[in-house]
Symmetry: C2
Subunit: 253 residues, 2 copies
């Protein structure tokens, strides 16, 4: 199946999703849906949350890969209007507005609801993955109590759940982390581990040698930002890791 | 293919391997070879080093699993005379004699040579895995400069390579570790990471929540030792991790 055979999100989604969901309009107007239309029947759905750059080609390519693996993939437009940038200041502004505004969980939740409404989606088998800012976002979605079969963060900005969130976390969590990621302090990782243990969450953490922030993105080096770079081994291994995790978790229900 | 179809190490090995290798007699008299005899042609070889209990049923079952996956697996008898125990004091005595005697690398190297001599083994594709004490052993084998395609430690006693070993390490290393493993201090993990980075080794580390020492061994709880226990999720995930690593590394050559 070539990428050309993958269906994209049509404008009809905007109409389909203005159904009372907080922030639904933002994420659905220009989000990106990919599935194999040669395949029939419902299949597991994977929400994909982009890096702080917005819904760019990289994250769309990941959605298509997931579709090729047999999933319905929905890459969320977290900023609305398909806003994309290569300017870190702009990306910082947009992502901070979402993060500081407490919108990570509600917007990704709204996107998840859209994914669930797709006729191709098996609603009982849902996962969320995210890259960098998107990794933080899917963590927040999991921390909000969303009963995802799997939550996966690729070089995500990590943060521990708040005390009052501990009892509500239901999703197992896979943390894919670059050993040289200067955007995440070692003590933050310790805090995340301690909190997730306290919450009795099923988590595991993979630490890739020599990998920095954004290691999974083949375009990372083009941004020419210190501490951001592609690592081919970590990219391949982390993607395989996610696949194993999905197979395990989607087989459970 | 059932376990019954797997060939075991015959006594002829003892004769085949008394060929000048240090410690070869120890490891070959009673070691355990497993491969699928319905399969023809050379295939990658995997050295398997047991926990400090010796060459027990658990490690033999892992060798058979590897054979079922299409590899030649050679589980080394690190103590000689097929000595096996369930008594931690005895295990401590035997394993310390090997460890303190500097015999981890030479004995496992001798076993590796036996594995290489098997007609079923593709000598260009060799890996070593080990459990607990065996994990320490395969690390020492890698630190000694053995050009293994992959080295994997399951809940191994971890230690950093010595300064004079840094330049000779050639094998990529996968460390599978229980987050609650009280036998490995966090600072030891930091030392291992720092040293392997300095040595420019390709390594990655998987940390499994709620898993203690010996997490991969379904019999672990039967020893009734505090801090030692089976963890089904970590066992399954770590085994899958090893398989992915093998596929990646054996495809390279």
């Amino acid at each position: 199946m070539s990428a050309r055979n993958l269906s994209r999100l049509a404008v009809i989604f905007a109409a389909a999703c203005l159904c009372g969901l907080v922030n639904a309009r933002v994420v659905t107007k220009s989000s990106y849906l990919a599935y194999d239309d040669a395949k029939s029947g419902a299949r597991p759905g994977v929400l994909v949350v982009p890096e702080w750059w917005g819904l760019n080609d990289y994250v769309k390519s990941r959605a298509r890969q997931l579709a090729e693996m047999g999933y319905v993939a929905f890459a969320a437009d977290m900023y609305g209007d398909a806003k994309v940038t290569r300017d870190p200041k702009q990306a910082q502004e947009w992502s901070s507005a979402v993060g500081n505004g407490g919108l990570m969980a509600p917007r990704s939740k709204a996107a998840l609801e859209v994914l669930k409404e797709q006729p191709q989606t098996d609603k009982s088998k849902l996962a969320a993955i995210g890259f960098c800012f998107g990794g933080s976002t899917v963590l927040q979605l999991a921390y909000s109590g969303e009963p995802l079969a799997a939550t996966v963060t690729f070089h995500g900005g990590l943060m521990a759940p708040k005390e009052d969130q501990l009892s509500q976390i239901k999703s197992p969590i896979l943390i894919l982390h670059g050993a040289e990621d200067g955007f995440v302090k070692p003590e933050t990782i310790d805090q995340v581990r301690t909190s997730l243990d306290k919450a009795k969450v099923d988590w595991y953490l993979v630490t890739y040698a020599h990998a920095v922030h954004a290691f999974s993105n083949p375009d990372a080096n083009s941004f020419k930002i210190p501490g951001i770079g592609y690592n081919e081994k970590a990219a391949r291994r982390s993607w395989a890791e996610m696949q194993d995790f999905f197979k395990e978790q989607f087989a459970r229900k």
